[in-house]
Symmetry: C2
Subunit: 376 residues, 2 copies
């Protein structure tokens, strides 16, 4: 399954901050086919540093970030569903973001890009859904920030979402989550190469961005998974160096991950997207989370993981309890995993059966044609 | 109780790395009086960024970092015990470290300072104890890195330590703990002002050091204590700014703590002391932790805190179980607190009674004169 990136253009996009973006591009991929009624579409929403390449393999042979969940016979079964994923607004992987050219000036936006929200991301996805002439989504789903977008979909467009599957997500960032993001942002702006965001004609703030990524990686893993993967193992040596070169495997891993990230991610996108996450509060002025969720008509499958300390289970339970309080159709699964927050990406065994069973029930109850497509 | 910093000098100190330091200074404070036999001494060992000013108030009116635990009638009762605390080797608060003048060159050591270990720190403390003509310590104690030093004392000088009280500590850093330290180190060395450690004649690597401190602060608090202290409260504003200035209280707190730290701590000391923590492994080549603890004769009180995710209770239990396996005298208390790793510093109510009761028992069983000193 070779994945092709496609794009769609929109003239304008109104934003929560009051600004209007002009000339907005969305990059997306899709897998599987729409049924005749165009009712079997599943919108996949990516996490912070993800992109539209969720399934299949690209032309360079690189599998999508959720390739283990998307495909024939997989959780998001492309023999039954039309599955698609778009790079988020503010990103740097094909969709308009701070590294894009501002059509008004002919120069890159950099920090003149307006500050965006999760709801703005969802608003652009809605434009894409309309563009694809999809009247109603069978499901919206994603892990981490993808789960936040899924929740926002269910609240912003209650008539458009049959099922909502937020995984390892939250209805609002806690102080600790904001704190980790703020540390990453400060690492970036502390780098002299950041140059107040105007670094596109020179070297990027590579060192700051790498440090930000190192912090991130620690939070994505669990204490246990780091112990299992690295422990106190030394890197290519028998004894410690008594120096500041790499001693431990875990140091080598973090430095590698940090430097590798610089090649594929834009520092300004880091700032904008983390800010959107920090701003996200599904309650959004309503008296309670339950009140905010009042108007949704979706069925919910909420999944969290035991060792995820970045988006702990109690945050998923908050959503579940708010939904239950309003008598919504909600299933909650706390899955046992040692992989920490990364579990939704890498430990998908149990998740697969739960998601595919849930989707089959939703399709059946909603009378949606999701018959397995005969091999052609 | 006005605390006076004193110093002691030593000609040489042999280090684990093989090097010998010449002209070593130790800064220390003491509170209370030695009894006639000099057997009522309690050595307080400070955490990563602490210093010798553990108790009382200094000339500027600043209370010691454990002033709530040290003093007349407190856990470390200065009416009964001679309590003292020294700045660690490698530090920047009076004891020889990378910012000290190398007597061989007349210039600051910077990165020519040898890489040190927790055992080296303890070796220097032992020289101080000998200098003070203390034949045997009633107790060694400290939280976090202070607890590691306490454990090292019990193993390195088994005949010198009546009681060992490691609090919120570990017998070895986990991959996650090393990872957080490495991130801080990389933030510092990424700062161009770091200049390979030779920054003493120019600006210090303030931005990198501040980011390192921000990461640290997150790990010292719990998710719960951050929620209670900051939640999603905005800083001096009614709505979010849609910008990259400070929106949330927690951002303001972290930036303040980061910038404040730069004025009181040396970036090179940050590198050396975190490295010493990461290297620390009480096992040190022994077949097991229990085997390493075989030779200690100390009584142990091990304390951990429920919400401490940086030095989780399981790490204390590892020590406790190793001691129990060799039939040592060990008491373990997991105290309930929402303050995270900071609990040993700030949530000392329960800790106080447990420590003072334990010390009284040890003194009684060891026949040590710790009678309350009559007010003079």
């Amino acid at each position: 399954m070779i994945a092709e990136v496609q794009t769609a253009q929109f003239d304008t996009l109104k934003l929560d901050c009051g600004a209007t973006l002009r000339g907005v591009t969305v990059a997306y991929e899709s897998y599987g086919e729409l049924n005749r009624e165009r009712t079997n579409a599943i919108l996949i929403l990516h996490a912070f540093t993800g992109d539209a390449h969720a399934g299949g393999i690209d032309h360079e042979g690189k599998p999508g970030w959720w390739a283990n969940m998307i495909g024939p016979g997989k959780a998001f079964d492309t023999d039954r569903y039309f599955v698609f994923c778009a790079n988020v607004l503010g990103g740097c992987r094909g969709t308009t973001g701070p590294s894009s050219i501002n059509p008004g000036t002919g120069r890159r936006y950099a920090l003149s890009f307006p500050v965006i929200t999760i709801r703005d991301m969802v608003r652009l996805q809605k434009a894409l859904v309309d563009h694809l002439r999809i009247p109603r989504l069978l499901a919206v789903t994603g892990g981490s920030m993808g789960g936040m977008q899924a929740l926002e979909w269910a609240v912003s467009y209650p008539d458009m979402v049959e099922a909502c599957l937020p995984i390892a997500a939250t209805a609002r960032h806690s102080a600790q989550q904001i704190a980790f993001n703020e540390t990453g942002r400060q690492a970036i702006v502390a780098d002299p190469d950041f140059n107040n965001g105007d670094y596109y004609d020179g070297p990027p703030p590579a060192r700051g961005l790498a440090v930000a990524r190192m912090v991130g990686h620690i939070t994505y893993m669990s204490d246990e998974s780091m112990r299992e993967k690295f422990g106190r193992r030394l890197r290519n040596r028998e004894t410690v160096s008594y120096g500041f070169d790499i001693d431990f495997e875990v140091e080598s891993y973090l430095r590698y991950r940090g430097s590798q990230f610089v090649g594929r991610f834009d520092a300004n996108s880091y700032l904008y997207i983390t800010k959107a996450m920090d701003y996200f509060d599904l309650t959004n002025g309503a008296p309670s989370l339950a009140a905010a969720l009042e108007k949704t008509h979706s069925r919910f499958l909420v999944i969290s993981f035991t060792s995820d300390w970045l988006y702990p289970s109690y945050q998923s339970l908050e959503i579940v309890n708010a939904l239950r309080g309003r008598n919504h159709d909600v299933t909650y699964c706390e899955l046992s995993s040692s992989y920490g927050h990364d579990a939704f990406l890498v430990d998908v065994g149990e998740q697969t059966g739960i998601v595919s069973g849930f989707l089959a029930r939703v399709a059946r109850e909603a009378g949606i044609d999701s018959a397995k497509v005969a091999p052609s």
